[in-house]
Symmetry: C2
Subunit: 484 residues, 2 copies
């Protein structure tokens, strides 16, 4: 494979060799009859300094070498005289592949707002910030696959288009090829989906979990990592209509095995990013400090980015039950001073303000909450036996809460008892017949099993320090926006 700028900067063996280096011009500046060109090829946050001494490169070529232009620079790699880089390329010739008219090219060497860059999402990977974010995104994705593969999990592709309409995890997008204006109708006036492509009504998946469960009950340990969709009208910095989910599912794992796995997993992928992307992360740390300069002290990150990541790796997550969390909240200053917007009592769905208090104020570290009230959790979670310490029926659920992010992971041991599962489905209004295939996994060879889901973009937000989820995915989809 051809060498790239990251190789030239890293390995001293290229010094004194004649090379041709291809990339895009980040900046050009003239100084004492010498032109310094900062060249970047996307392989690293660092630029290669290309030095064109006076008269070496014809003026008509040199004037095309502007920010954004693609060039090939041929010359000798030498030890650098200047500060800030170890080597530089003393050029003898430059070929310009593609120019970038300074009057028209939107990415000039100045500060652009993230909002502006979101409007030109097709060009923003060419900036330092977004190239760093997307390199970190890659490293985290690879770490996900490596962690699971190394630990005996099999990658599993749950379907994207689903004919199953009973998952109940959120609003869905309809997938169809029927004539949108004049769909075929049944005699009773309803739409005749038998004539649709799949012969039935179909939607985009909201979760690959249920199909993942049946895979775990065959292959032992599996994980999904694919796109999922929510047609919810959420215009927040934490929600996307299209996002990537990681959903491991494990036969013979109980809730405690599940917690151990979730903690090991998150720590592994963060450590992988630190080990492999330290330059990008250092750049993103500086960016965040810069961004937060103008914020009041209490809105700034409590730790610099790299320190925060190291802290998560080095410290065990705090584990407690929902009931214990409610106790802490009831004893808390904001509750006593009536500073919480939402009331605190056993049975409530914890609000963001409560989670933030626990994670950011009380424990100051990631927290795993378990044993939530049955009434506020999904039908497929394993019903806990009655325990004197709980205030009501609970399920073997676990949520992993992260500072600044909130819920990073939601999981549970799954209900493996057919009768209990069917009874719970009926209670929440799901027709068991509609999910007969799912129930077959409990009818035949049912076994204790557990799993969780992690929103990949929230993980990237945490690792990169980017405040808006729309800035950690190449082309964010949200209400009224599906550009490119």
């Amino acid at each position: 494979m051809k060498y790239q700028i990251k190789d030239y900067l890293r390995h001293h063996g290229f010094v004194d060799q004649t090379l041709t280096v291809q990339g895009w011009v980040r900046t050009k500046r003239e100084s004492k009859n010498v032109n310094f060109i900062a060249l970047n090829d996307g392989s690293t946050i660092n630029n290669l300094q290309v030095v064109a001494e006076a008269g070496v490169i014809p003026e008509d070529i040199l004037k095309l070498v502007t920010t954004g232009a693609a060039i090939a620079a041929t010359g000798i790699l030498v030890d650098s005289q200047g500060a800030g880089q170890t080597v530089e390329l003393k050029v003898t010739s430059i070929e310009v592949y593609g120019t970038a008219d300074p009057d028209a090219y939107p990415l000039q060497p100045k500060r652009h707002s993230l909002e502006f860059l979101r409007e030109i999402a097709h060009l923003r990977p060419r900036t330092n910030t977004f190239s760093a974010v997307f390199r970190v995104r890659h490293a985290l994705a690879f770490a996900v696959h490596k962690f699971f593969s190394d630990n005996g999990f099999f990658y599993w592709n749950s379907p994207i288009i689903t004919g199953s309409d009973a998952e109940g995890a959120g609003e869905m997008f309809r997938v169809s090829t029927l004539d949108p204006k004049n769909p075929p109708l049944n005699e009773d006036g309803s739409i005749n989906y038998k004539e649709d492509f799949f012969g039935k009504e179909t939607n985009l998946t909201v979760s690959g979990q249920l199909e993942g469960e049946l895979a775990a009950l065959a292959l032992g340990k599996i994980y999904t990592f694919g796109p999922t969709f929510r047609a919810e009208n959420s215009n927040t910095t934490r929600h996307l209509a299209e996002f990537w989910m990681i959903e491991p599912e494990m036969a013979f794992f109980d809730l405690y095995d599940n917690m151990d796995l979730a903690e090991d997993f998150v720590q592994y992928v963060i450590k992988y990013a630190l080990d492999n992307c330290v330059e990008d992360l250092a750049f993103l740390e500086k960016r965040l400090l810069e961004e937060e300069k103008n914020k009041p002290q209490n809105e700034r990150s409590p730790m610099p980015l790299l320190e925060k990541l190291q802290f998560v790796i080095d410290n065990d997550f705090e584990r407690l039950t929902y009931t214990q969390a409610i106790e802490i909240l009831l004893q808390s200053k904001p509750h006593k001073e009536k500073k919480f917007q939402y009331p605190v009592e056993w049975g409530i769905d914890l609000q963001s303000e409560h989670e933030r208090y626990l994670v950011e104020k009380h424990f100051k570290k990631p927290v795993i909450l378990t044993h939530y009230p049955r009434a506020i959790k999904a039908f497929y979670m394993k019903q806990e036996v009655d325990r004197p310490e709980d205030k009501g029926p609970t399920v073997r659920a676990m949520d992993v809460l992260f500072p600044g992010i909130g819920e990073m992971i939601g999981g549970s041991q799954r209900e493996d008892n057919l009768e209990k599962l069917v009874a719970r489905m009926k209670e929440v209004g799901i027709e068991p017949e509609s999910m007969d295939w799912f129930l077959d996994t409990r009818r035949f060879g049912s076994a204790p099993h557990s799993g969780f889901g992690l929103g990949f973009e929230r993980l990237i937000q945490f690792v990169t320090g980017m405040g808006n989820i729309r800035d950690v995915i190449p082309f964010p989809r949200y209400p009224k926006s599906a550009e490119f």
Copy 2:
């Protein structure tokens, strides 16, 4: 991480230890007052033999230990007396997690047809064949990520829901949240997509290439690996409505770099599967031999599966131009004897019969065809200069053809010249304005670049020897079928 059956079978260090092994019963047979239970936990094609000596396990427990039941068996791992396994578990107790009533459980220890198993796709991963296929699928997926990551490519997620309607690669599925029966209309009677979720008409992507190109022109080398969709009414053993595509895209790569990459890539992932899944592949080789026993000689695979895979790794792919391929076809026996259904002349789109002749009869190995006529290829392929050896205008396209599969990879150097690209778009009826964001990549910092696409399921078909593409993806989507 907890040990699994593959660990117990592989590492002799567990012998004489007391273990609890969890899994599903494949078979149980009685012999001379001893029960032999073949236990499988999905981690390997091989079963652990569990030996229950007479009287050790109570009869009421033992009678629940039937094919498909989930159990935990506790006992001592000992060197095996019998042939076919190295160790076995001498049990002292068995816990039954979940039964599988032999009268109701569809997967009994007998031969089931692939067609029957497709109808119970939620249970088929519990069979030897499908567990092997899905473990190989995992290994290939991981090899894809490892190859690209090791070689400096970044994983890139092109959007799944796309507002871009000009890609022209096939029929698309519409994604909408509008009321399907009474969609809002404009004054002219057309549907008012401004009121749809994304404020415009949106579809499922048919290819991530165009968004991949802009990423390559920023990050250097990227690859996508995600689901793509075609709403085509194809009921064949090679087509799915939902399938996974791998699409690398590389700045500064010409057609020849692209060919080298494609060949290295395919050989790497096949070698990875051989290195990591030899037991599964040996099982699948036997399955295929069995399946082909009843076929006439000329319809059987020319080589056993493992030998075929090794052959692809050991031999360079044949490279020739489309024009040279046409010459060979014109000289061929089937052409002269008028055995081809479709006529052969320069300019035709090669038919399956032509590709198969070249690959399976003439060269007997994978073939890379380049320089196809411009008229039969996509608008974004780089226009070749006029060359005397061609019979007309060509593009720098490349198709990689595989025995038994046909087109495995389609790729090209991309047209990087703005004027030529725009002219070609107009020729084929695409409004350049509709893809202005794509053209920006040629307007600013354009550079030579190349890429290709590989249908993941076709690769899995080739590696596993499975004849129907519906059998290498967990839940196949095709016309009139979106079950589970």
